[in-house]
Chain length 508, copies 2
């Protein structure tokens, strides 16, 4: 999107910010290391030399591997080869149809982790996907990480809000991954740090950088830029500031441990000037996501950016528009790692179960687009066209039909038996006498068969099953008469189970 | 998106369909002209020679101008230079919060035309933006075109469902545009024709092509492809069939009048195999929109494709996701003309006033992205960053603030005084004592000042003003505390007026 000349302009302005304005570095150890490396320190203010910064940045790898306990789920991160979507992280509240909006609990955390584990769209998890406020704040960071370790075998990002907590997370990971030496050799968790924009690295974040770098765990350097508040209103200025903040963080990390993986992070969104609060899913953010990816690649760093970000308070047209716009840009940018890709609601205050399910559908959509169009002879379908001919109908051309629609099976997963092999999974088949336009639910059965409108989300409540998304105005067609639902994730609280319905019969 | 090799494959397969399968041409005059041009005719089946087809296609212009009565609103169409968004066309039903879903009426048609006229995002209108079912079906096509002529000065597409009706539309246009010779010299309306896929041009559509070409009015050749029903399931096969159908239509038109403008039309979407009904806003459609644009440009034809298409029945998360995905692809493809860009609901059965307002916001969003990022010194903002410095706040940097937020004025438009100059337009200013987080409405006033959540849509009903989109779950923040609303279109039925609120003070 940006020309080489524009990338040069952003770089030049970022370097001038580093040299002529500098950053406040609020932790003594980091300042000392910078001074020893020849940087000019005046009180807490550090002026960075551009040659030094670029030299440090060059030490960080373009690609790295994050190891999972299940080796098949280890991920390679970098060069835009694959976009790794993550669930929402950090909200204070949880929300679902059963209980509404409430303070996050460890039970919600467990449930979100289980959902993320069964969702094939999500390849990296979060310790702290919702804040478990029912636990002691001094130790809940370990409960959150343990929740991920207990209920998932995917790689993850540690809770890590300060140095001590990050170190606890690293030690937990070391226990399950064969010890400290093992995880230093092959990194197993990520940490995310935010500069205090504009142009401050505070003590907590610098401690996180230090302990993460010492343990050789990848660090996501994410300036927290709100255009009009913590960054200039114009996008170009925000990008220059972003580069200055992110690259200074990379340099600080490389001084601790040369070669530690560092990602270029973008969290860039305008604020509503009337309220001062972030306005997510706006055009400025879309442009920032796309430009950020180019900038990250210019510096040879993997890119974290975008997400399913929205300001909307409920799963409605507003939040969906914001989310869809943000996710499209994220996918187009071939972003390497995406925090908050599913389940983010209310400006990040809330982790929504319903929105998580809905966002997973959007992610499937984007991955299908990324796969693109096939051009085999069968897909070019000349024989089908010739055989069908003018005024024919392709509905009765079985070979092609079978390409997209394999079966009507529903698969049910029991997360308590996470190691279940396909053969041991209970499967229910949709009854043959189901209405032709879809498969209706039968309230009262222990397991409900649901179907209906494309992207419909159903949730179980006291009053039976409710269709959450497909609010049908009176007089219009029932939602079951529309389109296909590919899969559906439900949380069965009574049974403490995740049930994943897959109408195409694929195993999640 | 497609490689040259893939484009060649689509072309080759399309040419084989034209030559080896052929099309049914159900109107005698068109068959005769094709036979005279050397094409092989067997009953109604015509085999097209590829050399002949490509020769005809080459006669159609890459760019053409569609003249509006107001010369400033004339549009240039082609080469992806600008995307011309149009409102929904053809629904049988209208829907709004006041009256719910009902058969379309001429009053609804007038109201939609007025909204489209004041919306700066829409540059071409529709005769038949909703079906005026309260009028005699033998003459309502003229009422629909007259509605556009009466309430708008933008260029438009005629209702034109068959040759006679298209001719009536052309004659109406001739009356207001200085006579038949004048519109033949400078085209003023478009017609859209759909082949009866697969591979049939029926009598009605061929008549439309004939009378449009005779009058030198641009024709949008749009195969109606439903993958799995009227086209093969695989996208590549659908594209080959699309080329065969669209280019055969172009050839037929060029035989009537060489040089008449013809657009390459794409309407390509999968069907839900369980229902047989189209599933809009799906990945296959997104890929089809993007590929279609490349194909159209290969043949040197302006491109019609995409739209704000959705299967959803109400303005909710489902319909918004489908719409946003479809519109993103449409914008990315630099589509020249977009039918159904705003107001389409329920698979096209319904023209929704609320969704029209909402979709306009999405179109503004996409246009803002198309404008991209500015890189002036002011936008690179080095001075702002230096002056603000570490730990500062950009809220008090007035120069930059003013770049995005000009004023808090609200402009009110009275469509009855369509010729009003900016000076004669009544303007209300938002009171200075409005809450800082937004501007609350005061029910009971003759004109309500509304504001609040970004992309909130408010409609007036019997019970006063209702916030339509921003359904806030209990316990969460009020929607007014969120983000910016740029503009808002409301329909005041009592006063028979459109009121357009523009919170940025720009004149629509």
């Amino acid at each position: 999107m940006l020309s080489e000349e524009q990338l040069d302009l952003v770089h030049e302005h970022a370097m001038r910010i580093l040299e002529e304005v500098g950053l406040d570095i609020l932790e003594e150890g980091a300042r000392r290391r910078l001074a020893e490396a020849g940087q000019e320190v005046d009180g807490v203010r550090v002026s960075f030399d551009r040659g030094f910064v670029m030299e440090q940045v060059a030490k960080a790898p373009e690609v790295f591997t994050l190891r999972a306990r299940n080796a098949e789920r280890s991920v390679e991160i970098g060069l835009g080869r694959r976009t790794h979507w993550m669930p929402v992280g950090g909200p204070a509240f949880a929300n679902d149809l059963d209980e509404g909006r409430r303070s996050g609990r460890i039970a919600d955390h467990d449930a979100l982790v289980k959902l993320a584990q069964v969702a094939p769209e999500l390849s990296i998890l979060n310790g702290g996907t919702v804040e478990p406020q029912d636990l002691d704040h001094r130790t809940r960071h370990m409960d959150a990480d343990y929740s991920v370790i207990r209920w998932s075998d995917k790689p993850y990002m540690t809770y890590g809000a300060n140095g001590r907590k990050t170190l606890d997370g690293i030690e937990l990971a070391a226990i399950v991954h064969g010890g400290r030496a093992s995880i230093e050799a092959e990194p197993v968790l990520m940490t995310v740090v935010n500069s205090i924009s504009p142009l401050v690295w505070d003590e907590r974040m610098l401690e996180v950088i230090t302990v993460s770098a010492q343990a050789n765990q990848p660090i996501v350097m994410t300036p927290f830029l709100l255009a009009g508040s913590t960054a200039p209103v114009p996008i170009a200025g925000g990008l220059a500031q972003q580069v200055a903040e992110a690259l200074s963080g990379v340099a600080i990390a490389q001084l601790v441990r040369p070669g530690v993986a560092c990602m270029y992070g973008s969290f860039f969104t305008p604020v509503d000037m009337r309220t001062g609060s972030p306005a997510f899913g706006m055009p400025q953010a879309v442009l920032g996501i796309l430009a950020g990816a180019q900038i990250a690649r210019r510096y040879g760093l993997p890119y974290r950016g975008g997400g399913g970000l929205a300001s909307g308070n409920s799963l409605d047209a507003q939040s969906t528009a914001e989310t869809a716009m943000s996710l499209w840009a994220t996918a187009l940018a071939c972003t390497d790692v995406v925090l908050h890709a599913a389940g983010w609601l209310e400006g990040g205050l809330t982790a929504s179960f319903e929105k998580l399910a809905f966002d997973l559908d959007l992610l499937r959509f984007l991955e299908a687009i990324r796969r693109g169009i096939g051009f085999t002879d069968e897909e070019l379908a000349f024989d089908a066209v010739k055989q069908t001919g003018p005024a024919g109908l392709f509905l009765d051309y079985p070979l092609l039909w079978s390409l997209d629609y394999e079966s009507r099976r529903i698969s049910i997963y029991d997360l308590e038996r996470r190691d279940a092999k396909p053969g041991s999974v209970s499967v229910k088949t949709i009854p043959d006498d189901a209405p032709i336009y879809g498969l209706t639910g039968v309230p009262g059965e222990d397991l409900l068969i649901v179907t209906g409108g494309h992207r419909t989300v159903w949730m179980e409540s006291e009053n039976g099953w409710q269709c959450l998304l497909n609010r049908t105005p009176s007089g219009s067609q029932p939602p079951v008469a529309r389109a296909a639902l590919n899969s559906l994730y439900l949380l069965d609280r009574d049974a403490n189970q995740i049930v994943a319905y897959d109408l195409e019969g694929r195993n999640p």
